[in-house]
Each structure stands twice: as C-alpha cells, then as structure tokens.
Symmetry: D2
Subunit: 478 residues, 4 copies
C-alpha cells in the first residue's frame, strides 16, 4: 500500500492519494482543482489513478474531482446520501452508507457521517493484503485532530436557514459511530490548522481514534444539548466565497484542462485597465505596499492566507489584475483557481516603471500607539478605532473603545464608519489591517491610518506612553 | 539613442530594437513571433514600442510584426515595393523607396534593395540629435557580413519559376546602391552564421560598408554575369518549410496572444496517441535516443538546429508530441511557434516510466568505420552508404561509393533506398544521421545503421583499418 | 503542537521536527546532514530549534546533529545506553532509559529499545497542553511499519562478530516493552520503504501500536527462538558504506558549515583529471549511458538510489567527478554529503563537447533474451550469465544457469568472472546491470553485455524464442 | 572569426571574447572577475581560451584576468607601457606599442594610447583569413561612443596629484593616432552608457572610426588647450572605491576559485550580528524599505546601480549582511565580487520573521513638495534641503536654497548637516535619496525626510502648491 498526504497550506486543506502497488491502481480523496500534483505522484510511483472520491460537497475550495476524472478517465465516486437537496448534479457513481469498493487490494467502506453537511461520508480503509482489519479512516470535515466540523457553514455561508441546529444533532449521532471504531485506527482529516472549517484545529496532520477519544472535546460531552451549545458557540466568520463554492461543487466545477497563464500587461494596457476600473490586487509585502502603491489597489499579500482573503474580497464575475513578481504568478494563479477565481485580467511585475513615468503612488498612513493615546486624550470623539480581527480574537482581548469589523466584511459595513473622523485600523500584527486600509481607501476614505504593530504592539507599548508626548516626539512615528 | 541586437541562435536570425530616450519611442525591426523579449527590453529601458517594420517577407521564420502590433498598438510599416505579387495582404502603412519616417529623433530612410526578394527594403538610420549623417544601415537579407542574400529561395522553396535569375540581376543593381554609401556606416544584417538565407555567413554580428567593400566577395565582382554565376552556384538546400513561411508572412500570421502551453500526457494518453498515429518528436540527446527510444519516434535534438529541422520534418496540419524535460518545454514551444508549428498535441518528460510498464524500446544500430570497410570488402552490393549532409559538404569530400540525400529530404527519396540492403547513414559527426535513422525506421526500414562518428571519424579511422579485422574484433563495435 | 515529517526518498530516511508554538521551541529527531530544510521550516513556523536528538548511531547516513547544533546552538541529547563500546565520542547531554525532558509543553520520555543497535532509544511524546496521555512514539530503527530493525548490520557492515544473535535477543525483549504501550499511540519510525535497515518496510509513513500488534510479523511470534530465526533470515545485503557511517557517527561527523559547491570542469581540466585517473560517475539516464559514455566512467543514475549506490561504489578517500546537468548538481551534492561523500573533484554538464573534440565514446553492448538462448544452445560454456540483483530476488526466481553477484559487490568478486567468456549481466529491468556493466568495463573487462530488459523481459520473451532465430534476425537486437 | 560582446549593465562594462574557429583558440579582452560566462561561451562555441588581455589597469572593477588564467592556463598579455609606476606587479607577458600577436588566424596589433591612464593600450584586429586589412579596434577606456576616457580619475580617485593635466595632454596625442585609422574600422570600447569612466557615454554599443570623427566632440577640437579645458570640465564624481580597484588590479586581484556562496543567517545569528555592529545592506525596493526596515540598515537597491553604490558605501575590510530574496543572492554576490567586495557575512531573506518576533522596524519619513514649501514659508531656517544628485545634475537645475552633497559622499560631509534642523533629502526620483536617508539615519540623524518624487516631482507639483495648504491637507502627504 502506498500512502501520500498532499497538503495545501493556503487553505489548510488535505487530500490523499492511496495506491495498491500490486495492481497499479490508486484513488485520490478530496482532490483540489490544480491536479498536476496528483498526476506527478502517480507517475513517479508507477500508479494509475483509477478512482476519485470526495467526503462531501466542499464549501472552502473548488473540487478537482471532475478535472482529474477528465484527464485520467478514473471512476468518480460521490455521496448519494443527504436527501434531495444534497445530490451532486453531474455524472458520478453514487455511494451510500455501507457500500464497499476496492482499489486493487485496498478495501474502502463508506460510512455516512452527516453533521458538517447532510451528505458527508467517511471512508474506512482495509489493506487486505496485510490484514482483514481496517488501518485508517478518512474523515473529511467530520472529525479533525482535536475538533469536529462546523455544522453552521450552510446557514452562515450558503444561507440555508435553520440548518446549523439540524447539523449539530446529526454530528452528535455521527460521533457515536466514531466512538465505536477501534482505538488503534489512524484518523486522516480533511483540514489542518488554519482552515475555517473547524473551530480549533490542531497543527498535527493525523491522529488516532483512541487519542481523539481522550482529548477531543467533542467526544467528551455526553449530553446532547450541552454538545450542541458548545459546538455552535464561537465559530469563526465564514468567508464570503463559501456560498459560491458550495453551489459550484454541487453543480460541477468547470473543467480547466490546464492551469491558465495570465498575460503580463504593458504600461499602456495597465493604464487602459485602470481607466476601465479593473480591480488591482497588490500581492507585495505589506511594507512595500505601505511605502507606495497604486491608488485604489488592494493589498492581499502573497502568503499563506492569499487564497482565503482573495475569496473574501474578490467576486466571481469581475476580472482583476495582480501585482506580483513574475516567478510567483503561477503559484498565485493556482491559489486562485483552487477557489474558482479564474478571471485574471493580467499582471504587472512591479510598480517602479509605472511610478517612473510620473504616475502618483500612495502610501499607507501609520500611527503609533502613543500617538493614538494622545489623540484619544485630546479628543476622544475625533477618531474611530476599528479592530479588523475575528470576533473570537476581539472577545479574548481588545483596545478599549475599539469596534470590531472583520477585515473581510469592512466594505459591507461602511455605514458604521464616519468619514469625518480619523479611522484607525488594527489587527494582530498588521497583515489584515494593511488589507483593510487598502479596502477603505479604495472605497474613498481618506483619513485612514494603520496602527503600527497592531494589537501585539499595543499591549507592549501602550503602558509606556507618557503624558510628555509632544507633537515633536510623535512626529517621529509618522 | 538606444540600440539592442536580439539574436535567435536557432534560426541565426537578428532583430533590432532601436529607441529614442528623449521621446520614449522605439521601433522593432524584423521581430520574431515570440515577442515577450521586445516588450521586456522596452519596459526596462522605459521605452514604448511605437513603430514596427520588416525588411522583407521572410521565408525562414514567421514574422512577429502583427503579434507585436496587436499588443502595443504600434504603427506597422511594411514594404509596398516589389509589384503586385509581393504586397502584404493585411493592414499596414506602406513604405516605398525614398520614404522617410521618424521615431523620436531617429530618422529612418527607406532604400529599395531587391534581389533576395522583389519587395526587399533597407533602412538608413540617422540619429538627428547627434549628427545629420547616418550612423547605420539595417540590411535584412540584402547584405550580410561577408555575403549577400540568396535570390534562389523563391524558386526553390516557394516554387516561383525563373525568379532566381531575375533576383540575381536585381541584387547586382542593389549592390551598386550599397557601394555608394559612406565607408564608416555600420551594417546590421538580418542573419548571422548558420542561417539558410545566405551561402557563407560570418559569425561576426555586424560590419561596416567600408569593410564589406574590402572583403565581401559580392562587392568585388564587377562583371554582372560573373556575379550572377557565382551567386547562384552552390547555394544550400532550402528547408521545406520556407514555402509555407513565405505564404503565411504575406497573408498575415495568426495572432497568438501569448505563448501556448502544451499539456503533459499521462501514460494512458500517450498510449492512446500512439494508437492514433500521432507523430512523436524525441528531443533528447542523440546518445539517449540511440540507447533507447519509442518505436516510430523521430529524433530532433534540442539544440541550435531544433527550429530548422522541425521545419524540415513536421508539416503544418499534423499534431505532434514532444519528448523533453519539463524545464525545456517552454523554450521548445517558442522555437516551434517561431516557424508557425503551433500544433503541439502534448509532451512527456521521459520514457523510463513507459519502458518500466513493459513497453518495448528500440535502439539505434551502430556500425564502425572498419566494419563498414569489411562489409564493403566482403560484398560491396550488400550495403548502401547514404551521406545525409548538405550537397556542398558532400561535394567537398565524401566516402567513396556513398550517395547524397539531404537529411531533410530522406522521406522524399525512399525510392532510392533498397530495403533489402543494409542502409548505413552518416553525416559529419552524428546529429543529422541520428535523425535520419529515426526517419527511415519510422518509414518501416529495419536494416538501418548509424555510422559511429560520421565522416569526421571516417577520415581518422578508415586508414587504420587492417585486413585482420575478424568477426570477433568487429563485434566490439556493436 | 507543530509536527512535520521530513522524508528523504533516496535513503528512505525519516526525520521529524516537532515544536511547541506556545514557547516557540522545537526539537529535531534524527536530522540528516544537509540541515537547511530544518532551518527553513523552523523559520516559517516561527520556531527556534532548541533541542536535537537521535534514536541511535546511524549506519545508513551521516547524522546532521552536530551540523545543526553548530548553527542553532541547540542542546544535543544523545543516548548513553548500550555500554562502553557504544558511547558517542563527542560532547552531548546523555540520555538513559526513563529520562524525561521538555521542549516547551512537549514532554519526551526516553525508552531504551536495543536490538537494532545496543544504544538504541525511542521517544514517547506527550503534548501536555492537550492531555497527560502520550500521543506518539518515535521508534527510529526499532519498530517500522510492518517490520522491525535489523540486528545484523553491526556484524555484516561494521564487522562486529556475533552481534547479530545478541541483537536479536535484545530486539525480542524490546518488543515486549512495545506491546505494553496503548493501542491508540501513533508510531513514527526512522525509515520507510526502500531502506536497507529493515527487511520488508511498508510504504505507509506511520502506524499505530494497535495496528502493528495486529499485522507486524515480529509482534506475532511469541517463541523467542522462532522469532530470532525469522528475524535473521533473508536480510538484504548491507551496503558497504555502512561500516564507515557507523564509525563517523560515533566519533562525530565533520561540520560542513554549508553545502559545498563543486566547480564545473573545463575540457582541459577534464582531460587532466582523466589522465590522473580520477573516477568519473556518470549520473545520466541508463539509455544515454548506453548510447555513449566516457571510457572508464561508472553509471550511477540520478534517481532514488543515487545515495545508496554511491555509498556502495565510491570510497571515502578518493575524489571523483560527476557528469550531470548543472541544475541537478546541488541535489546530487546533498545526496552525497548525506552519506559523507564530500570529496567531489568537479563536474561536467554533458559529454557532447568532449565527443565533438574527437574523443572516443563507448557504448553498452546489448543482447536480447533470444540471442542469449541461441548462444546457450550453441555453446553453453562460452558465456557467463550474472544476476546482479539482491540475493532475495535471486532466490525468488532466476534464469537457469545464472550466478548471483550483488551489483555492489561485483568488483570484490572479479575472480569469479572469466575474461575469456562473454559476460552477460542482468538485474530486474536494467538500472543495476547498467551500473554493473560500467563497473566491469572500468575493471578492464571487454566482453560485457547488458541483457536488454533484464529478468522482467526474460520472463516474457524467453518462451517465445523460436529455433528459427538466425544470425540475421538476431542482429536486429544488436 | 567568432565575436561576442559581454556586457555588465551594473558597471556598464564591456568585455569581448574573440575566437578563431579554425584553430579553436580564443582571446578574452578585459574580463570581469566572475568568469563563468566566458568559460560557458567558449565551451558552447567549441573554443579554448588561450589568451587573455587588458586594455589598462582598471579603476572601476576588479579584473578577472588572473582568475581566468588560473582556470584556463591561458597566456596573460598585459601592458608594459606607462613607465615605472604603471607596471603590473604579477606575472604576465608584457606588451609594448607595435607588438603583434596571433590567436589562430586573428592578428592583434598593440597601439599605445595613453590619456585615460599612462599604460593604456588598444588592439587593432585583423582577421587574416578574410583580409589583410584590420576589421576592428578595441579601445578600452580610450575612445568611447561619442566620448573619450577621463584623464582625471587617477588624481581624483587614486590621489595622484597633477595627473589629470598630463593625462589630458596624452589623450590629445593619442587621438591623433586614432584619426589616422581608416573610416570603416569598427570601434569596440570598454564601457557603455552609465559608466563613471566617461562623461557622456552613448547607449549604442559600438561605432566606427569614421562616425566618431564626425560626431565625437573630442575628435573635433583641434586646439590642444581648448580640448584639455573641455575634457577636464564637468567630469562626474569618481566613486570612492576606484582608488582601491586601481591598487588591487595593479598588484593582482586575489584568485577566488569560484563564486563564494554566503550563508543564510538564522534570526539568532542576525541578532548576534546586529549586536556586534555588522553593517546591514537592505537590497529591497525603496518602497519596501520606506514601509519598514531594520534600524541602522542601509538601502542599496538591487538594480543596475548596485555594484557602484556598494563601492561608494562599503569598505573593503568590514563584513556586511545582505537582505535579499534567496533567488537574488547569487547575482548580488557576483555584482559585489566584481568590485572586490568579497566580505559577505551572510544574508537574510526578508524581515517579516524578524518583525513578527516583536523587533522594531523603522520607516522613512516622507514629505511632499507642498509641505516643504509651507515649511519654507513658515520658517526658512528650520529645514535643510539637501540635493544628493551628481554635481552636473545640480548645476543643470535645482531647488532654490538646496545644497548639493553627492549621495556617496554624505557620510564624509556630516559637518555640513545640522542635527537641529529637519533635513530633507532628494535626488531625481527617489532611489539615491532613499539610500541617503538610510545613511544619515545610520549615522544617528533622526529628523531626516525623503522628498517624495524628488526633483522630478518638484518641477511638476511646486507651481501648483497654493497658500491654502493647511495642516490638515498637508497631513495627507505624511
């Protein structure tokens, strides 16, 4: 038996390629949309991808099942559980609780495990060449390491009223099934730390049934109502693109036939695009963005959060331009198509040439903790402190007097922001607030400041701000 | 004034980007079809490509003028000389002898210089900011370093009967104009060493009018008939694709909008393609090809001659598959689209996986000089010695008893090859004969041998072959 | 808790980086010698490597513990078990059975688990922030997935007489300890499939105590003598370099301070090196090697087996030259320093330039199955069939009349090979026999053939060889 | 004859590789210190580098002649002209005016052409296979395209008093020799646009004797005194490192044996280095530097000017740290060793990790044109306007009231800068002033501002600044 864990750090998403060397067959579970990686591994290991499956209709990324089936001709095995509203709407071989299928010597048994979603299934794998006992279970977004899947996404992101309560009940029942599995069984979940699909995902990629029974909070509450209350409490904000993902994954994502390659724009084309109002996503480091950026451009840094924040900020109809080093374009494109953002208008490498032709650059106004203190002391009402972190972080500790608007929801809450005040944004250390500042500026706000160092700096520096802060000393921070 | 020589070694083709820093304008002369290089240089130098021109309708590569004009919006300036049959058939601004145009401070004067082709023009450049005297002349395929353009291509490649004689007359007249130019003028031609557009091109990229007057044979024959005889004598074979290039460049090459990216084939797809009879081009080193290759595949090595040999071997309707390292695919694709071969079916990285699945590989049978001698001594009629070099090389020196068929014309001359004999191919050192062997094998010939080391080895080894060569000692070479 | 499995496919070797995000500390277990990977992961995850440990004195690779400690200043924790002969001879903090140490919130407990080696220890890890129950055990070369460590390496490779029996006894006792661990515990071993440290390693990277109890043969033999017999039976040949690794890892590998960068040799330098008799390792594909190679060069292909085969073939005093693509040099260098082969004289990119200057290339003589049959039928004694696979493969099935000499031991067994006969080498599919042919040729053997397709081809083709095979039809295979 | 122009844009430096295909020999003229490029070209063209020469003892880069000779064993031919003080102090074959030597069929004739330096020679090349007339002249720093070499460098950079006058006289005489050459001769100089070795170098890589006679100012002044006055007038500042280059090139640059590879520093090592006071060179874009940088770090951007500015700022004894993307380290290292700056302590990839660990970043204070106007209007004496451009730029146009200190000489002129005033730096568009601000901050100045957009912006914006600029509107620029 060959086993490979493929992890996308950006979406904290796990897929698996499992193969039988004896027969040369392999299955991919929960493939992402840029499927080259699976093809490459299969070739290297001398395996053919003959089966493809999913644990459920994903909300957080666009499935690569159809893409991969199109290239390999593999059989596409998908859940037919969950009732009429949760049926995949494209051709596949249906799977129901108790179904078994083989990939060479590898036996997969389907277990219906609703809760995160109604149609969710898990796969119990037995390597029949070694033993008649199962060796691992692929749990998708059912059981994570130290957590379980969110039953509220459908309601929050897909707008299906009341589904969170139903899901929580189902999750409680599904966990009973999980508890009946043998302790030694390895548990391979669909997400790792950083995903928005669970509340408190650990950073360890796999676990065992026995260890989860010991430490997973969800397996240690025997009272159903207590379980449901805990489960539904404090779930993080669902990214805005989740609703669209759900819809597309159900109806069948468009087949790409390869990774698209965006074109590099000439300065003339860039100018033309700006005049047309095409959105510009500046993926450079926040420091470079702060030092100078194109008016109206939005800063989504090329780091682990790029996919998710792009899903929050961009919409699926509008084209957009990337500012990024040529060498990063391919990876950025992959990150975007993973969540279905295929509509790249073009890219430019850097903005120096633009600036050298005399075009204006804007900077991000910075403000230090002590200067904020001084302003507050002088006129409490002249400024608005906006904390763009997640609600859970805000609840754990905040700057007194700050209001909380999640960075991904700023543009939906402009009515809360007073153009006549100085608006001061912060997050934990500055990534999200850099994006937030760029969003507000793109919406026409001018008096927007980034609190340098964010809440982390505030906790360290604020206690040391003296009353002696004068205009002069403050100016050092500008 | 900014000046940049852009050289494609594969086609020995020169294009030029010349710019005026004061106005920020630039012109590209004779652009190739993969135009990214020009865009990149222009951006780096803070120039806009505002003008594009050509010296003539090219036969040896597909022009990038339309591609570049489409991206930049530059003015397209093309020859309207040459008569009714030599008019570009797509939109452009026409140029006639004596016309002048400016690119910023740079003044270009058009000189009609027919000979190579009827519509051929040259450009006299004056940097008016420095002087009112011209600084250089762009001669395209009119005057090369040490040579002049071939007037026979139209007849040989494009099938226009009688045109070689006419062209030679025109060339003689055009050279008179050249002689009247000042000695100090720099001469920038359209080709360097290795191109099939001239007879004996030097490897120095540029020259001067005065130096050419001293050393260029064509400027040193004052008798017109003598000139014409010398010019038409001993011109190399015109690659087969030249006719198509001419046609496409006249009617207007298709606009690509970017470099296409071929897909990697899975083994299943490869098998399927082989069954469909899709042609396979193996770009690996000849040694690797000799060591093992897919049955029916053709060896066109990924070296300087790749574009030209592909033009000889492939046709414009058929799709084909590349065998090449992933990292080389982009450059190979560029080399192919430069001559209009856009029809890439896909590629595979190597053939090990294929072989590991039990598929047969074939090897190239090698034969040494001394073994050939022995065979000849034993039964002169049992073998056929085929020299696949150019006629000029063959004429300079050959193996006695060998026949000459240019490697690019082998498949057109199968009637000359006897399937009942051992056919032994050679070139100078083994590149062309490796391709030749693969071509004959793809045409069903089985007893095809490569003479190891080619004619170079023959000259060294043959004199040392003794009569004592026994079956045993010969077998060492097998 | 952060967990990362770092796998070197070439040596099938696993190392682990485990960190505590709360304290920012991390430990590396069994680091390899090119340590950049660990530093990079630690930086990305915002962790400092504060602890380094090993499960035992490795025989199959050079440890990177000192290298990493030198760069990071981390504490070096090494086994003080195993008696006087098994003490690390450089500075470290000693570990004994029952010792505990913490890396932030992570608690490591030392268990002495001799068998593979006398000083071998395992680490039981508890994530105290989550639970007071252990979550995983790092077993090094004690328990693998489906197998246990070899107790015979010391005797075979390091030449310590009688140690295999002692080790087998100790292994039996250590496994009793393992059986007492809870079923749910994850098992993280030091090797995966392909390593020479176990007999039948699975290709799944991790397991659990409970699953191993069910399927691992070693945990299912309760009779000690029966266990020992099975354990010592049929262990693969120990690579020759293992003895040296053991010695160096005990005394302390030399600190590199970075990956060395070999220089590219000019043709003049190459010629000079050849005259000096410097060994040449040709890392190209076996097909390219077969098609043409430098006289005396040895073919160790740049694939998964490169480290191990280099360890078999090269010795630690001699310098050597690599033939490899420039882009692969860095990875090859890493592969070599992982087993202490630091003595790279230089490299060349390819051999075409060499050949173009008129230097002789040699080819690998190929022989087909049917031709071998014919030769055997004609004169059984004229040829010697040598199977260079491992003894276990030979025992499972062989060509009648073939003798078995492991590819790595060919040069030690030249007395078994008759220079007057045709020596025909084969392995399974041709990789090892390509190396074998090159070794014999470097030792002055001339009549050496590679059986095309190896034993795999033999099984398919041999039954179909007819008596009608004539000299002519056979020659097709040459 | 094979001819290749090798151009280093950073130093605007030209070297040439010229070869004779018939004999396989090649010469390199004025090689730079990273010599891989020459070796690669020679191998590709099947040439051996058998001769190496220089036009003179260079001041602007470290010569690669010894490095290349050490690798290739080529003959080193150097000027023995210029008198006792100008003799190369290491082994070489001496060249004097009138000497001739051959590289295959290529004949080189030495012409002593002092002026730029006393020992300067030029090479007249005749391709004897084509003609007995010379084809080109390699003029080094004697005649450039449109200019001639500076005779003042020795005095300014190397501190040799009075040498500028002597040099100018010699130049006048040498130019007489140049005028006697035939018009058609190609002229290949040692520098292109951007070098500090000439006053007004053109951006065209080559010229001819005839064209230079027409347009080069230096060939059109017949009065010696007039010539000398013009020549010595308005020469740009000589970079500080020139003196050292001269000295090292005369005594013989150290042989490297390969490009050194600096190590990546861990955060712990970085901290340690900062505490030791190791200089930090931040090569990121000026915008990123402005947005946030390590205290005390100096911004020398990784663009065309990197070599030269590093020569201005760094000294030859001190180690230093680079901040740069991993992928750029090799090129940066090459740029540095080209001028002998081998002393790289290590590098770090970016500063995010550093900042994330709570370390302070500093920003560059920006000030807009209109705010400067307001400040000037309010209190003329509170600010100091420093123009860090070259004197020639300053002389052509400046901000009224600004003082001129060349960016490379700021630290030598701290006595001119008043710590009690706001110091506002500008250059043309912001590159040099970003470096300047970082230099002053590293020297302890706190009230240092960068004038956004520099003098270019000033000319556009200043006229539009109204008196209505209020504190509020100004703050927008901060």
């Amino acid at each position: 038996m060959y086993f490979k864990h493929i992890y996308d750090k950006g979406l904290a998403q796990s897929s698996y390629l499992v193969g039988c060397q004896a027969s040369g067959e392999a299955i991919v579970i929960d493939p992402r949309r840029d499927v080259e990686e699976y093809l490459k591994i299969a070739e290297q290991e001398n395996l053919n991808i003959t089966h493809i499956t999913e644990t459920h209709i994903h909300a957080d990324f666009l499935s690569g099942s159809r893409e991969l089936a199109n290239i390999t001709g593999a059989m596409l095995l998908l859940s037919d559980e969950g009732g009429i509203d949760w049926q995949y709407q494209f051709q596949h071989t249906g799977l129901k609780d108790g179904n078994k299928f083989k990939v060479g010597n590898l036996l997969f048994e389907v277990i219906h495990t609703p809760g995160h979603t109604p149609e969710h299934i898990s796969f119990l794998l037995t390597d029949t060449a070694s033993s008649d006992k199962p060796v691992m279970i692929f749990t998708g977004d059912f059981v994570f390491v130290g957590d379980v899947g969110r039953p509220d996404l459908l309601e929050e992101a897909a707008g299906i009223a009341g589904s969170r309560k139903t899901g929580a009940h189902q999750m409680f029942d599904s966990l009973k099934k999980f508890k009946s599995l043998p302790d030694y069984l390895q548990v391979l979940p669909g997400h790792g730390a950083g995903s928005a699909c669970g509340k408190s995902l650990g950073a360890v990629p796999s676990s065992t049934v026995g260890y989860e029974k010991l430490v997973n909070w969800a397996l240690n509450i025997s009272d159903e109502n207590g379980f449901i209350d805990t489960l539904l409490e404090g779930q993080p904000e669902a990214p805005k693109y989740f609703g669209m993902m759900k819809k597309l994954n159900k109806s069948g994502p468009q087949i790409l036939g390869g990774i698209p390659r965006p074109g590099r724009l000439t300065l003339v084309q860039l100018k033309d695009a700006i005049e047309k109002g095409i959105k510009i996503i500046d993926t450079r480091n926040k420091l470079a963005f702060a030092g100078g950026h194109l008016p109206g451009s939005i800063n989504i840094q090329d780091n682990g959060g790029f996919s998710t924040w792009s899903g929050w900020i961009l919409n699926y109809e509008e084209p957009f331009i990337l500012i990024a080093d040529e060498k990063n374009i391919e990876d950025l494109t992959k990150s975007l198509i993973r969540i279905g953002l295929d509509n790249i208008y073009g890219y430019i490498n850097d903005i120096d040439l633009w600036a050298n032709q005399g075009h204006e650059l804007q900077t991000v106004k910075q403000i230090s903790c002590c200067e904020v203190k001084m302003k507050l002391d002088a006129d409490y009402n002249s400024i608005q402190l906006v904390d763009v972190r997640a609600k859970s972080e805000y609840d754990e500790g905040r700057i007194e007097g700050s209001m909380n608007i999640h960075a991904g929801r700023l543009l939906d809450n402009l009515d809360l922001l007073d153009k006549n005040k100085d608006i001061i944004l912060h997050c934990a250390s500055g990534d999200r607030s850099s994006m937030g500042v760029s969003l507000l500026k793109s919406a026409g706000y001018e008096n927007v400041y980034n609190l340098t160092g964010g809440f982390n700096a505030w906790q360290i520096e604020y206690p040391h701000c003296t009353d002696d802060v004068t205009m002069e000393s403050v100016s050092e921070f500008l």
